[in-house]
Subunit: 481 residues, 2 copies
């Protein structure tokens, strides 16, 4: 089954285009790919003619070339005919947008069985049915909703696979964009009649060169495929993260009306995931935090250096005592430890500060430089902490309110970190006027979070990945994970 | 002790103004109050003259009137002299910005004892020392940081008291603004030598007409005052919420360097708060969610009607199955229950839908109207659910991606809710282009949240307040809270 044709197509054809309704799914897909994406697009309509300047072809077998992928946006029975066309015309892959298959029960189940047989017998890579398909920038976007209503994430290292199209475009796209997390390919698997999470894990892990992190939103594994999925994950060099919906009693009932798959027992599931080095965050926010960190670690420019090992020993640097307190409160839950400074180190740090801040700063851990801080104080302390080997990660709570902190501070810190290669996680309030500072850091691949909790989660993400990487290499650094 | 003079002053004087440094705290306070706020401002400088067009007076006893409040931004020893001036000149209240008191130990403790004695003996309402003071719009703002660096929250019903100035201006101001939560008065209590959380609780609960909700960030109660605080809270008609920092071992160490007060034992604390009907959220986000809901319930226009009682029975309405699943998963944790629909109700709901959506929608709870939804489908179902008495709150997960949802949808829903008086909590993605829909709802006092979790927390906030209100009135609806 050739998934490269599906995710990196040179050409696509679309069936199910309405000449009357500009908001029909097939027409939206035709127009957005023609106008916005790099794939070559052929529109199929029995009357041929043209639509919004795009030439339409009457039949699939009249196209000047065999398309890599056929997007099918017609009723369920016609869908099967078009899948047969794929076989007859050697079209290697197809995306089925419409429903009317297993999710409606009865005859829908029969239809889906037929679909599966044709696809597997003829090795056609079929995605769906009942899905929004693929977003693989800059090539293809089969999301049948108007682009201007959507928020697209930037390009990056994360392959994103979702059993719910709504969750994909809302919970992930919107929040990836907010957090600047990059996507290689996003896939809505719908009923996953043919292509399922396991096939996708294999492709993204072993074949796709653009993906280093693979994230799944699932409402349960496909029958009999869990074992293969887990084994593939354990052997993968990529970081695998799963998030499950439908895991409570209410959620399970909701899942049944939605995708007709049952969520697994959470405890057994969690334990199996852990044993196979799959990261399983507690909340959606934690998922997003992890992905942001791992996407950054996958960039070519590595501000923290190669092969980061973080056992969990951190230093907190703040200009507000209360922020230091709130941050400290969260460390234990996330398996992090405050490094203790020696008296000598404290004296050396105080000597690096301006005289006013020196009087009132606290150089315990957390360090509180107070509102009397200057840019140079923060720079000096960051440089000093970067030189202490037993500090594995600095949590920098950077409040830009003190009057003497300049808007250069982000750039100054980025330069120090890039030079020193010390892992640093920053917290900065999410306020439009501070975007210059935020961007200074993010441009240099230093992650910025907008809540203290997420910053702490991000530090724990470094620890978690260090653990998993070591365990996959059979090193014995770590106690049983 | 007259706190009205402190929080609603007609005039203030400022000492500690630098003619050379435009960023000195005293000067920032002088200029921002003169240029941006309604209070009358007198600047005191031994050389008199003028500064940025503001006349300066050489001595406090030369002012044309006795100011309501004296803001002191000088060194610790001089501070005590100025407090004595308050006594001699009958200035009823003072805000001490500077440090050098109990937080530095040793002679600082002696100074603070002196300060306390003068203030209590002469009934001067002293705030601080070591604080950023008061923000009470539109009258006074003694935050000694440049206004253009800060994000001010809107005006509203919440009195906000914080033991950390940094937490007040960052964790609260920024996030109140993001969430449109309104503040009556914000107070940084610093070392709380004289005015402490208990005195403030009494004032905001019994005297201030603008406050209906009182929120505290504390790192522990002031010695020997916990009992009085708890008793006042239990008797209060306002909603009281506390959030404690410094509650873990690491946090406690951080607290000691910061405000030198010890956090209490969390379990004992939690139990005591509960017994006195004080809301004690698990996280900062939960705190913010609760405050947003309670601020809205305190508005004069009440879209949900008076005396809302929510036992926790909810309906979920979505256009994405996955969102329904994720929302359902969170209900149990927050003590909420999905109402079951009868077969008759399901048929009636289906009959309200457009033919395409009718085919593929699920009208179990959660309801999934799918991407084929029209505005009128959402309106019809909202009106229908509003008429079902056993539904106490509707969780509306409103994704604006389906092509036929118009930007009028927010207004349409607002009109229905305002008419039907059914509690509704909405989730909408936080994307700039959807602000028209978001604002349509918020203008009508219908709360919008930008994560499913916060929407669920908000529904639980209604239940929690229903419980506490009933318990305070000694009704027997509720099992032991």
């Amino acid at each position: 089954m050739n998934l490269e044709k599906l995710f990196k197509p040179k050409s696509m054809a679309v069936v199910g285009i309405s000449k009357r309704n500009p908001l029909s799914p097939g027409r939206i897909i035709l127009v957005k790919n023609e106008f916005e994406l790099d794939v070559g697009v052929y529109g199929i309509h029995p009357e041929a003619g043209e639509l919004e300047g795009i030439e339409l072809h009457a039949r699939l077998d009249e196209l000047p070339e065999i398309p890599d992928v056929l997007v099918i946006a017609v009723g369920a029975d016609d869908t099967l005919k078009y899948i047969q066309d794929c076989v007859d015309l050697n079209i290697p892959s197809s995306i089925i947008i419409g429903g009317g298959f297993a999710e409606i029960g009865g005859k829908g189940i029969v239809r889906q069985k037929k679909l599966e047989k044709i696809a597997f017998d003829n090795d056609i890579a079929v995605l769906g049915p009942n899905c929004i398909g693929v977003y693989a920038p800059p090539l293809i976007d089969t999301i049948f909703l108007p682009t201007e209503r959507l928020t697209r994430p930037p390009r990056g290292s994360v392959a994103l696979i979702s059993q719910s199209g709504g969750v994909l475009i809302d919970q992930f796209f919107v929040k990836f964009n907010e957090r600047n997390i990059g996507v290689s390919t996003a896939v809505s698997i719908g009923n996953r009649a043919v292509i399922d999470e396991t096939i996708l894990l294999k492709y993204f892990s072993k074949i796709d060169p653009d993906t280093s992190n693979i994230a799944f939103y699932l409402e349960g594994f496909k029958d009999h495929k869990a074992r293969e999925f887990l084994q593939l994950a354990k052997e993968s060099e990529d970081t695998i993260i799963t998030y499950f919906g439908g895991i409570t009693d209410y959620g399970k009932i909701a899942t049944q009306s939605h995708t007709a798959s049952l969520g697994s027992n959470l405890k057994i599931l969690t334990s199996a995931l852990k044993q196979h080095y799959i990261i399983h965050p507690h909340s959606e926010r934690e998922l997003l935090t992890y992905l942001k960190v791992y996407d950054i670690l996958s960039q070519r420019k590595k501000p923290f250096g190669e092969n980061i090992i973080v056992f969990g020993n951190v230093a907190i640097l703040s200009v507000s005592g209360g922020h230091g307190v709130l941050c400290s409160d969260m460390l234990k839950k996330y398996g992090l430890t405050l490094v203790r400074f020696s008296e000598q180190e404290k004296i050396e740090m105080l000597n690096l500060l301006n005289p006013v801040a020196r009087e009132i700063s606290s150089v315990n851990n957390p360090i509180d430089l107070t509102g009397s801080v200057l840019d140079t104080d923060i720079e000096n302390i960051m440089r000093y902490l970067s030189g202490i080997e037993r500090i594995e990660c600095i949590l920098l709570l950077l409040l830009p309110y003190p009057p003497n902190i300049s808007f250069q501070i982000g750039r100054r810190i980025a330069n120090i970190i890039t030079n020193k290669k010390k892992p640093v996680i920053t917290f900065l309030p999410y306020v439009a006027k501070y975007s210059l500072i935020i961007e200074s850091l993010e441009i240099a691949n230093i992650p910025v979070f907008h809540s203290i909790k997420e910053a702490v989660q991000a530090a724990s993400a470094l620890k978690l990945r260090s653990k998993i990487t070591s365990l996959k290499k059979d090193t014995t650094y770590w106690e049983d994970y």
